[in-house]
């Protein structure tokens, strides 16, 4: 390979990687946490102590149906989420413009469960794919996905000769820059299949936002004036009462080839029972429709064809809702390592340019942003979790306050990094933020045990997992802080 190609691709890899990497680190970090979004929500709502696999009874379904009918009479559009091993409650939900909210029922007794208002794990999921900026954010995430794929391909070409021979090469004893480069290459190459799969599928699932599937003839055709909608808009008649849901569930399961039902949508003349996302690696929207009010099966809707199947596989692979617990942990570890690859790339970019450009304002801004991303985001995440446990459970608007405090902490971290950008060594910014991560992460299990001991006892696996992640963050932060101390710069 000609050296000029490697040099040019090296430039592309460095700059595209750094510019996309600053936001990509946040996308990957929150995406990794989203693997356990349902579990995080349960950790953040300790009042909900329904055990996994609690049996669903007809009483609970009737209680939920009564509430749904009441909401329909009031004109709200609601849907029903059925219990699953990850989220064992029966939820009557509606969208409030930001998130799904509603009433949770105990699936055994049909008693409503009062839980604290929080975005829970959904916050990280929304942040991951929208950056909390709606469709514009999703478009940006998609474009960044393409930039990351370009970065990966250029990185592979640069490293092609040593890709396989050096696959398990890590030299901790050599110069610090070499050690960081080895770590970046090691994690990058070993987790390459996962990283490519997750970026590619993530880009493809929302590709219609940046590449709309509009035929060219439509694009160049003159726009027709919009006609007012002729259909009925407002119905004044009261919606009919719902039939018993338990027999419909059994019929729908049979119609959908034994797949479990995930949720039920209600419209004025019918209700649709959708196959659960956890029922297989192909994430479909196959459903069985029943007429109202008699509950007769109208038919099933499936999406056949190779293109539909390909898209279902893309969605299934990316969302991993079918994955059993072990595979979910593999996704989590792979996500963590992919985040590490991007973060180590950012550190390498800064390290390589410190000697030549350390005095420049652009470099200082770049390093400040890197610190804000790599240490500031974990601090904000931990602040979010701490606030969830510390804010009073019945406080009005506590979910909005949690989100505000998350961003407040992140802005403070950015300010701290910027304030230290005038000093000669950036360790003065890295070290306090790493210490803060260690403090918040290490203190998470203590906080959990002190604030909600009942939930820790009844749902010990979820709490041990979440608190363990806090401790893991603390250990990693302390290790990095010690390395900086040894570095002496």
């Amino acid at each position: 390979m000609r050296e000029t190609l490697r040099t040019r691709l090296g430039w592309l890899h460095a700059w595209a990687g750094f510019l996309a990497g600053l936001i990509a680190t946040c996308i990957f970090m929150t995406g990794t946490l989203s693997v356990f979004d349902a579990e995080m929500t349960r950790w953040m709502q300790p009042e909900n102590q329904v055990p996994a696999n609690a049996p669903l009874t007809g009483t609970a379904l009737d209680a939920a149906a009564a509430l749904i009918h009441e909401q329909q009479v009031r004109g709200s559009s609601v849907f029903l989420t059925l219990p699953s091993p990850r989220s064992p409650t029966l939820d009557v939900l509606h969208y409030d413009g930001q998130k799904f909210v509603g009433t949770l029922f105990d699936p055994r007794s049909g008693v409503p469960i009062t839980v604290r208002a929080t975005m829970g794990g959904t916050f990280f999921f929304s942040f991951h794919y929208t950056l909390l900026a709606g469709t514009t954010g999703t478009r940006l995430v998609d474009i960044l996905g393409i930039a990351l794929l370009v970065t990966i391909v250029s990185g592979i070409v640069i490293h092609l000769r040593a890709l396989v021979p050096d696959i398990v090469m890590l030299r901790l004893s050599t110069a610090r820059l070499r050690g960081w480069l080895d770590a970046h290459l090691l994690v990058g190459v070993l987790f390459l299949p996962f990283t490519i799969m997750i970026i590619y599928t993530g880009t493809v699932v929302n590709a219609n936002l940046i590449l709309p599937a509009t035929p060219l003839t439509h694009l160049f055709a003159p726009e027709k004036p919009e006609m007012p909608a002729a259909g009925p808009t407002v119905t004044t008649a009261a919606p009919p009462p719902l039939p018993a849901l338990a027999p419909l569930l059994a019929t729908a399961r049979r119609s959908l080839h034994g797949r479990e039902i995930g949720f039920i949508l209600f419209s004025p003349d019918r209700l649709s029972l959708y196959a659960s996302d956890a029922s297989g690696p192909f994430l479909t929207r196959d459903h069985a429709d029943f007429s109202l009010p008699d509950g007769h099966l109208l038919g099933t809707t499936t999406t056949p064809g190779p293109i539909a199947h390909t898209m279902q596989a893309m969605h299934g692979l990316h969302y991993a809702r079918f994955a059993p617990l072990g595979l979910r942990w593999l996704y989590f570890l792979s996500g963590l390592c992919a985040t590490g690859t991007i973060a180590s790339g950012l550190v390498l970019f800064i390290m390589k340019r410190r000697r030549a450009s350390g005095h420049r304002i652009g470099f200082r801004i770049g390093e400040g942003l890197t610190i804000t991303t790599i240490t500031g985001l974990p601090i904000s995440i931990l602040v979010f979790l701490w606030c969830n446990h510390l804010l009073p459970a019945t406080m009005t608007g506590r979910d909005r306050l949690e989100t505000s405090l998350f961003f407040g902490a992140w802005i403070l971290c950015a300010g701290h990094a910027a304030l230290h950008s005038t000093s000669t060594s950036m360790n003065t910014a890295w070290r306090p933020q790493l210490a803060m991560t260690a403090l918040l992460g290490g203190g998470l299990p203590v906080l959990d045990v002190v604030v909600c001991p009942h939930a820790v006892r009844s749902l010990w696996a979820i709490h041990a997992g979440m608190d363990g992640l806090g401790v893991l963050a603390a250990i990693m932060a302390l290790y990095a802080r010690r390395q900086l101390q040894d570095d002496g710069t």
């Binding site: 090691l186 070993l190 690696p281 994955a323 570890l333």
Partner: protein, 88 residues
Amino acid sequence: MNFAIICGLWLMAFACHVRLQPARYRFARLTPHGRRVAVMGRIAAPACALMLAIRPGGITGVLTWFGSLSIMGLLVALWLALRHRPAA
């Protein structure tokens, strides 16, 4: 159990790979016979792991196979790095 065997097979594959690169990983050179065995191990172990992984389900199996590759590779790399680290 299945996952443990798959991880073991990947460990074997990486061990063979490392022994086939003695200069890079600072190991003694293999004899011609040992080299042939290592080449075979490097090919056969991942193939066996793949067959074992995809037996319960295709997509889950392939994801497990790649996941175990990454994790075992990381563990082998850490072991090698600590092995060659000079005493403080």
